[in-house]
């Protein structure tokens, strides 16, 4: 049998293989697709601002509890709903000049059993 059939077959196989792999990569190259994680971070890590964001990559809409502590004193406790794959920015209305001597400001975000905390040590 002529060798052309071998060349045509391998080209067809590669075409199928490439397409499958490319689509798998493109779908999974996404923070939310088939993932289950949350990110909490300060919008401005370099200064004393407390603006922060919660990113929901848990694959479904979720409601998060968050609280802000100055030292050991709880100052704010709120809930925020974040759609699947979305990011919610939060700018707490707090007086950064009245920290009551606290050296650490902590934000704790929780959902179900998981807890995420970020903080700034201010000395």
């Amino acid at each position: 049998m002529p060798s052309k059939i071998i060349i045509i077959t391998i080209l067809a196989l590669l075409l199928i293989g490439f397409s499958i792999l490319f689509i798998i990569e493109a779908r999974n190259h996404n923070y939310d697709y088939k993932k289950d994680w949350v990110a909490v971070y300060f919008a401005n890590p370099g200064d004393n601002s407390l603006d922060f964001a919660i990113e929901n990559n848990e694959g479904e809409d979720a409601e998060y509890d968050y609280k802000i502590l100055f030292g050991n004193d709880k100052t704010i406790e709120e809930k925020v709903a974040v759609e699947a794959g979305a990011k919610q920015k939060i700018s707490p209305a707090l007086d950064m000049n009245n920290l009551n001597g606290a050296e650490k400001i902590m934000i704790i975000v929780s959902n179900k059993d998981a807890e995420y905390k970020i903080y700034k040590n201010i000395k």
Binding site: M1, P2, S3, I6, I23, E25, A26, W37, A43, N44
Partner: protein
């Protein structure tokens, strides 16, 4: 997504087919007695790869920006030049070219029986299927080596010129082809693109080995079996799928080009043909520009082949050398030789072309990893079945030994020298990590394995005691198939680390958006963060930025003092050494694994935790 896929699928034939096809037309014409359709189809992509490397090197030398339209124009010009040469050389005679006897012989070599064709097609389906299954769990760009390489590719894409590496670890030919695909198709490097290109080259390597087997043995069963031995056996282990997903670029391209160079050398000698001699030099130049280790291994392999042939024909040695000289001292090889010299000296000198690199790679082995592999390690490296078949193949070659025939010195010389380089490198003054050399052994062993199986089938047919011969054959095949396919189970067992990779990318993107790379300095952990080598692509500031804590064993180097700061600033950030390092390096952001170092860092009052996810924590030093 679909548009990007279409662009990539259109770019592949444009880049890998067009220049090589017209080059083959210019060299062989449309229908040549020297080369079959199958061989031409296999060689088109290697030709394209080398031509594009050469063209980009020339563009860079002329300070022409390496951009998409420039590359598209360049590929079209190469193709046009090839077509003009073809018209000039062959068109006037085209009507009179009838299918000669030699053309028929070339085509006949690759005209398989029904069952041979079925066997080859099944082997190819298996070869592709196993690789796709394995790569489907690793296709998201995350491997360390690939991340390092893609930094340089991105550098070419962004700057429009070739980088100055400043280190001998990287070779320009490892990066050009990816940059070309990116610029021509518009598909980014942080996609499936690099792995797919490597996958293509890996599959192409099966075919280049096959045409070498064909011209060595002129045995159709051996050709058919070579698809199985090279494509299906140990399809996951290094240097196959694991090297594709791991981004071991130089090895993958080298494994494809080495058989091409040997194929042309063999045909130049056997057929006393100056065209093949020229193409041998051309493909050797391609190896030189692609990978230092492959070039090193190829030079040793070639030297062993030539030396063995001369030793086996010692009485005719001077005559043989004279014949070789007559083949290479003809216009075509001289032209290719001058072309190579001009490129190497004046257009672009590979970064490893210096005395220190040569002295590092030769001499007595300087490290424990370079003193050679044990036989068990070699068996692990190449696979028990391939080693067994290879040994049988060598034994069968000896049984039918004819020193005047090149196939004996090519197979035995190539296998022997690679075995010695891996087993006792000190004998040849080779000072290179032995496991890296061992990875090349699969090439000659695949060639002799295919021969072993083919020859065994022939012996079986002639055997008078068919029962014992059949029993032995089936036992051997059972062992080969079960052992050779055992690693393929891995293709279905791996757990994709897509989430970890995306969390790593997210943290890198966060740092890239919120820090000022002119005054902030980032340190990340390589030990416990998956896909961290891709961090640098989010900043594109420097190859060594962000700083990285490497594998801990690397800090214990008895041969030379190593910098310890990247380790100490993560491992013991409150120590006096680390404090000094923070002061000297200016590091003020540290990205670590949230579940490991992240927990420890939360106890340090000097740090604020500014980013937290399930996998990554980022701390800012106050």
């Amino acid at each position: 997504m679909v548009l990007d896929l279409l662009k990539l699928l259109l770019a592949i034939p444009f880049v890998f087919f067009l220049p090589g096809y017209f080059f083959s037309l210019a060299v062989f014409g449309r229908s040549s007695e020297k080369i079959s359709f199958f061989e031409r189809a296999v060689l088109i992509a290697p030709f394209s790869l080398i031509l594009i490397d050469m063209a980009v090197l020339a563009l860079n030398k002329m300070n022409v920006p390496i951009k998409g339209m420039v590359l598209i124009g360049t590929i079209l010009i190469i193709s046009l030049v090839g077509f003009i040469i073809y018209q000039y050389r062959f068109k006037k005679n085209s009507k009179s070219v009838e299918k000669s006897e030699e053309t028929s012989r070339s085509e006949e070599l690759f005209s398989f029986s029904f069952w041979q064709t079925i066997f080859i097609l099944v082997s190819l389906v298996l070869a592709v299927f196993i690789r796709v299954a394995y790569l489907s769990d690793t296709i998201l760009p995350s491997s360390t080596d690939l991340g390092h390489h893609m930094y340089w590719v991105q550098m070419i894409v962004e700057s429009g010129k070739l980088p100055v590496y400043g280190m001998p670890d990287f070779i320009i030919g490892e990066h050009i082809i990816f940059a070309v695909f990116n610029l021509v198709s518009g598909v980014g490097v942080m996609t499936a693109l690099p792995s797919l290109i490597l996958f293509f080259i890996n599959i192409l390597g099966i075919f280049t080995l096959t045409i070498l087997v064909a011209r060595l043995f002129r045995n159709k069963n051996a050709i058919a079996l070579s698809f199985f031995v090279a494509g299906v056996l140990y399809a996951v282990s290094a240097p196959q799928s694991k090297y594709v997903s791991g981004g071991v670029v130089g090895n993958i391209i080298g494994d494809m080009l080495i058989p091409v160079a040997l194929y042309f050398l063999l045909r130049a000698f056997k057929e006393k043909n100056q065209i093949f001699a020229g193409l041998f030099l051309f493909s050797f130049l391609g190896i030189l520009y692609t990978h230092h280790l492959s070039a090193f291994v190829f030079i040793f392999s070639m030297a062993a082949v030539l030396f063995l042939y001369l030793a086996l024909n010692i009485k005719r040695a001077f005559g043989i050398i004279g014949n070789w000289a007559r083949i290479f001292l003809k216009p075509v090889p001289i032209l290719f030789f001058l072309f190579s010299i001009i490129y190497l000296l004046f257009i672009f000198t590979p970064s490893y072309f210096d005395k220190s690199a040569v002295s590092q790679a030769t001499g007595a082995p300087s490290k424990i990893t370079r003193v050679g592999l044990s036989l068990d390690q070699i068996e692990m490296n190449v696979g028990s079945a391939r080693l067994l078949l290879g040994a049988i193949g060598i034994a069968l070659l000896f049984l039918n030994f004819k020193p005047k025939k090149y196939k004996y010195s090519f197979t035995i010389g190539w296998t022997s020298v690679l075995f010695i380089m891996a087993y006792k490198p000190g004998w040849l003054y080779v000072n290179i990590p032995s496991d890296r050399i061992g990875n090349y052994l699969f090439l000659p062993l695949s060639v002799v394995s295919a021969y072993a199986l083919a020859k065994y089938f022939e012996l079986l047919k002639k055997s008078s005691t068919r029962f014992f011969a059949s029993a032995l054959l089936y036992t051997l095949l059972f062992f080969v198939i079960t052992n050779g396919l055992s690693d393929s189970a891995e293709a279905f067992k791996t757990r994709p680390q897509f989430q970890e990779t995306m969390e790593t990318f997210h943290s890198a993107q966060y740092l890239a958006e919120t820090t000022d790379s002119s005054k902030d300095v980032i340190l990340k952990d390589h030990v416990n963060i998956y896909g961290d080598s891709w961090y640098k692509l989010f900043f594109m500031k420097d190859y060594k930025y962000p700083l990285s804590r490497g594998n801990l064993s690397r800090y214990d180097d008895p041969t030379k003092p190593r910098e310890m700061c990247t380790r100490d600033m993560i491992s013991k950030p409150e120590s006096a050494e680390a404090l000094k390092c923070f002061s000297e390096t200016g590091v003020n952001y540290i990205a670590v694994n949230a579940q490991i170092e992240g927990k420890s860092f939360e106890a340090y009052p000097e740090f604020s935790k500014v980013y937290g996810s399930n996998y990554i924590s980022i701390f800012k030093r106050n």
